[in-house]
């Protein structure tokens, strides 16, 4: 084996380490939520607790990720249906703050997940 071989192999291995660090750190059941707002859509992992502020048509809505579930905790809409609908963790679950034009849906990566939640 020559120096060039060694260098290329080392480069390939460091890329591997980078991928492991970037995409496997804190491996998860794989559920994520997709938040869609007038500004575009973003994806949120549900395995890390966090608080997000998303700008909607009326103003900012605050969402929280807690124990693998996500829900609205504050929203400028009048009837607060999105907050009342609670926290969502099942693949296929959708909710929205309709007046504020922000939607939330949980996308499962497990094959046995649901495509939609009926309620």
């Amino acid at each position: 084996m020559r120096l060039g071989d060694g260098l290329l192999l080392a480069a390939a291995l460091s890329l591997e380490l980078f991928f492991i660090h970037r995409y496997w750190a804190g491996a998860t059941t794989g559920d994520i939520a997709v938040i869609q707002s007038p500004a575009g859509s973003q994806e949120v992992r549900l395995d890390r607790d966090q608080t997000l502020t998303v700008m909607g048509a009326l103003g900012p809505s605050i969402l929280e990720v807690r124990d693998g579930a996500i829900g609205f905790v504050q929203s400028p809409c009048s009837r607060k249906i999105c907050i009342r609908s609670g926290f969502h963790s099942h693949a296929g679950a959708t909710t929205a703050c309709v007046p504020n034009r922000i939607s939330l849906s949980v996308a499962g990566m497990r094959e046995d997940g649901f495509d939609a939640i009926h309620h």
Partner: protein
């Protein structure tokens, strides 16, 4: 079989060689496509051995010809020509080829320090899988869950690239023994 009375001019030896290599590579490619894979996109990449050998022995022009012929031929045989599988294979093959050409330049500029078939094989397999992954991500399933596959795909590429590299080196050594006129592959 050509008879002694046939006075038509024979094909240039060079073209015949390329056709033979392309046919061999396509056959390996088709056979390999039939081996069930634990993950879509992960395969041994044995067909790449042919590209490596041609590159090493006959230069980059021949390697490009053999690789492109191989992809189109196997696309026709497998019935995937111009379908999604074909374009994935095409993107992977072309980018791996490009990476090989760069690696080959490096080798020619610095013959002692530059990479041999082993390093080139790893380079090609990694480039191949990365190109396929990003095309698949952009085109078919832009699902963030796909990223969890990246470490597996890259790991598999290193292992298979190394294995095919070792095989290619061995085959080149054996070929060298049969044809002492050609340069000896590095140890």
């Amino acid at each position: 079989m050509p008879s002694t009375t046939d006075h038509r001019p024979a094909l240039p030896q060079h073209d015949i060689q390329i056709a033979r290599f392309a046919a061999l590579a396509a056959a390996i490619h088709v056979l390999e496509a039939g081996i069930p894979s634990p993950l879509p996109g992960v395969k041994l990449g044995l067909a790449n051995i042919v590209t490596l050998i041609v590159l090493w022995r006959h230069g980059w022009r021949a390697a490009v010809a053999v690789t492109l012929l191989r992809i189109v031929l196997s696309g026709i045989v497998l019935g995937t020509l111009f379908g999604p599988t074909f374009w994935l294979s095409f993107a992977g093959g072309c980018s791996a080829l490009l990476a090989l050409l760069v690696g080959d330049c490096w080798h020619r500029i610095a013959p002692r320090v530059g990479p041999g078939p082993l390093g080139l094989s790893v380079l090609a397999s990694c480039t191949h899988i990365q190109a396929q992954f990003w095309l698949a991500w952009a085109w078919f399933v832009p699902h963030p869950g796909l990223f969890a596959l990246l470490p597996i795909l890259q790991g598999a590429a290193i292992v298979t690239g190394f294995a095919t590299g070792v095989l290619a080196t061995r085959i080149l050594t054996r070929m060298r023994e049969l044809e002492p006129a050609l340069p000896l592959p590095p140890q």
